[in-house]
């Protein structure tokens, strides 16, 4: 009994320590600058305000009111495209036999390990030659290519946990491969698709490196690119920065809340039997 008490104490301490940075950002965002100088944890004077949020939304050099729609366009297309490709690829890898299957799987896992920096230079040159630099099409293509391997791996792991029997029954009833995939495997895979979508969306939304090397025009900047620009050269307005960070954070959190039902059930995609 005492042991369990101490274990839960340790759990609470770690959990609360993990929350402190978020508390800090939140407090900094809702308080005016002059109160922040003595630290956000100082509550002698406390006048919550939404001014910082308005300022970040209509910032003169990097307004979030344009960054968030831009990010939404990129993140939604770069979530839907790889999911379509990777769900089919994952199904094929889980259910069919073909030569060099194991080699292909190992290759996919190795691409999970590759850093973006490894391919940055050739990708940059390729986009330059294809005239796709500084355009969302190029960026979405990059994210699609980068997301497809891990989603394929994820979906393949999920499909291997599904029982064969339903698909075999459908085959006996005369359904073809494509029919089986769309009418049976795909509906069963919805939890995994939901959880992969949430992860990929968050990944694209918060990605920074690809945007940094491919998007130049200030009007086209995505939300994540705009936050560092809000930091002034001579003086850092932490309130505006925190408010911007919170607003940018809200979108993936919203996606998680919407997909939560699927999210937990779909996590089985990471497991390996």
């Amino acid at each position: 009994m005492r042991r369990r008490f101490w274990i839960s104490v340790i759990g609470w301490v770690f959990g609360l320590a993990w929350l402190i940075p978020f508390m800090g950002v939140f407090m900094t965002a809702i308080r005016p600058m002059d109160e922040l100088l003595s630290g956000w944890w100082n509550f002698e004077e406390f006048h919550p305000t939404l001014k910082n949020f308005a300022q970040a939304w209509n910032h003169p050099t990097a307004p979030l009111s344009r960054g968030i729609p831009n990010s939404l366009i990129v993140a939604i297309s770069a979530t839907v495209l790889p999911l379509i490709i990777a769900t089919m690829a994952g199904y094929y890898l889980a259910r069919y036999r073909f030569p060099f299957k194991k080699t292909l799987l190992v290759l996919i896992v190795i691409t999970l390990a590759l850093p973006l920096q490894m391919v940055a230079i050739p990708l940059y040159e390729m986009l330059l030659k294809m005239n796709l630099l500084d355009s969302y099409i190029g960026l979405v293509l990059l994210h699609t290519a980068w997301g497809t391997p891990w989603i394929t791996f994820f979906m393949r792991n999920f499909f291997t946990t599904l029982p064969h029997e339903i698909e075999e029954a459908a085959r006996i009833d005369g359904a073809g491969d494509i029919r089986i995939f769309f009418s049976i495997a795909l509906p069963l895979a919805l939890p995994a698709i939901g959880s992969a979508a949430a992860l990929q969306f968050t990944w694209v939304w918060s990605s920074f490196f690809l945007e940094l090397i491919t998007i130049y025009t200030p009007e086209k900047f995505l939300a994540t690119q705009r936050i560092p620009l809000m930091r002034g050269v001579y003086h850092v307005d932490w309130g505006v920065l925190s408010a911007a960070a919170i607003m940018v954070m809200m979108v993936p959190i919203g996606v998680y809340l919407i997909l939560q039902k699927y999210y937990v059930r779909g996590m089985i995609g990471w497991s390996m039997k």
Partner: protein, 84 residues
């Protein structure tokens, strides 16, 4: 614990990979400074490639980083190989 092993391998490898490849937090917070004290391979590669436009040097850093991450990913690769 032994039953959790497959999941632990995946989670640990993923976290390790993620942190080896870290770029955005360092770039936004310190840009690798002061004086290179918080420099990481990913930042170094970006500086060589897109600030100095020295693709050769950048490629060397990128290959080094890849070597590290592939070594870190070996447990994951092994468990996939064993399974299939």
């Amino acid at each position: 614990m032994p039953l959790l092993k497959p999941i632990t391998v995946v989670v640990m490898t993923m976290t390790l990979l993620w942190d080896l490849k870290i770029f955005d937090i360092v770039y936004v917070a310190t840009q690798g400074g002061p004086g290179g004290a918080s420099n990481v391979l990913a930042i170094q590669m970006y500086n060589y490639a897109f600030i100095e436009f020295d693709y050769g040097k950048a490629a060397v850093v990128a290959v080094l980083l890849t070597l590290f991450t592939v070594i870190a990913a070996l447990p994951l690769v092994k468990s996939v190989g064993e399974e299939s």
